[in-house]
Amino acid sequence: MLGLPSDIWVPIQLTIELAAITTLSLLVVATPLAWWLARSRAAWKEGVAAIVSLPIVLPPTVLGFYLLILLGPDGPGGAIASLWGARTLAFTFTGLVIGSIVSSMPFVVQPIRNAFAAIGDRPLEVAATLRASPRRAFWTVALPLASPGLLTGAVLGFAHTVGEFGVVLMIGGNIPGRTRVMSTAIFDFVETMRWRDANMLAGGMVVFAFAVILSMILLEKRIARARA
């Protein structure tokens, strides 16, 4: 497709697939978590918030190392894999999705939490006086009001997953079509002196990152204007 050799095209396809599945899973997991972090009065919630944010600070090698152990035959990943007769979740697409969810989580939770917090109590109190149940108020009031935050979270989560390298390198095993994504393919091309191919993929990444950041800035501007 597009006249590209398959060892360039397959990693691109796989990366998009990985980022899309990771982003969808993250929205499902991160939205309730962000809601709880924004609304709860529990004293220990900031502890949870700190744990979720750890991947921002930790080097990917730390995440990769622990994931390799946790996904392996001695960890919970091995137990899950044994359900279908495998021994480990490392070297699998599922393993990459799990790793990407962990490492991209803070980039999704943070903007959604901020968006929920920015709504304040008042719209929800009004909804309650109109006899909306808390669940209904969440779906019909909080979620639409927080939608710019969700969009920001989704874009950042997608972009960060596309850019993930260290974790993938450590748990992937570089299998074409399953765990060989763009970032590791670039690394391979550079190592094996295929600089033209590396340049093509890397250049594409630069354009992609620029487009993501620019659209984020424009989106934020637009939201700010709409609110004013």
Binding site: L68, I69, L71, G72, P73, D74, A86, R87, T88, A90, F91, L169, M170, G173, N174, I175, F187, D188, V190, E191, T192, M193
Partner: protein
């Protein structure tokens, strides 16, 4: 005020790291499989000459790319003979400094199944993942593929192959038992008693000649030249042999 104290403390700390006057320093790029012997050799080198060898470990392919882009290494201990030669051809290294410092041996290793008879184990294929080093970037990976092809099992095993970025990672996949079996370097199994192993017969793969070369950046560096001389000497050779390499 506090900041000045901190900076002063840092300065003292840095000064304590600096080498004693008169002794030189050399930066050596070391192929991952040679990590352990290189550490021993560097320690002995320091003891005997006072020079310090600062070692960096990694995949030979990555080192080559870095060297051609001006990485601050003065000596290159590759896992193969092609890259040091390419460094010479490209004008990054000195031709007369080139020599084979070790000949690597390939081993099949497992912590899950019995691979004492490796040929039978490979033909039976009773495992899900087989770990090798990246065959395009790492010579031990190339040798592993050659050996499997020579045994006629490559096509059958190919779907089970997972690649480590270097031989160190290939080892780590087997060590964490994420892969049941893997091709590693004999030197990596030095002091390792876990699992079972099969030394791959040298007839099944082309010899892994590991060459060393002095880079142009180290042409006038006494410590770099001394390190290469030391590597050729009897003390270093004894260490290299002890770790399971053959010598010229």
């Amino acid at each position: 005020m506090k900041l000045t104290v901190l900076i002063a403390a840092l300065g003292v700390l840095l000064a304590s790291f600096a080498a004693p006057a008169g002794a030189g320093q050399t930066h050596v790029a070391v192929a991952a499989n040679f990590t352990e012997p290189a550490k021993e050799i560097a320690a002995l080198f320091n003891q005997k000459t006072g020079h310090e060898a600062v070692l960096t470990f990694g995949a030979s392919g990555a080192f080559f790319t870095q060297i051609t882009h001006g990485a601050p290494f003065e000596v290159f201990l590759s896992a193969d003979s092609e890259r040091p030669k390419a460094a010479v051809d490209g004008g990054f290294a000195l031709a007369d400094s080139l020599f084979t410092y070790a000949i690597g041996k390939l081993v099949l290793w497992s912590r899950v199944i019995d691979v004492t008879d490796g040929e039978a184990a490979l033909k039976a294929g009773q495992f899900q993942k087989l770990s090798i080093a990246n065959p395009v970037a790492a010579p031990y990976g190339t040798a592993a593929v050659e050996a499997m092809k020579a045994l006629g099992v490559y096509d059958a095993l190919q779907p089970k192959i997972v690649q480590g970025n270097s031989i160190a990672q290939a080892f780590q996949f087997v060590d964490t038992r994420n892969a049941e079996v893997g091709f590693v370097a004999l030197s990596q199994l030095y002091g390792v008693t876990a699992g079972t192993r099969w030394e791959v017969p040298q007839t099944l793969y082309s010899p892994i000649r590991q060459d060393a070369v002095l880079l142009k950046t180290g042409a006038d560096n006494e410590a770099s030249k001394a390190f290469l001389d030391f590597l050729k000497g009897p003390e270093a050779r004894a260490i290299i042999e002890r770790f399971g390499y053959a010598l010229n």
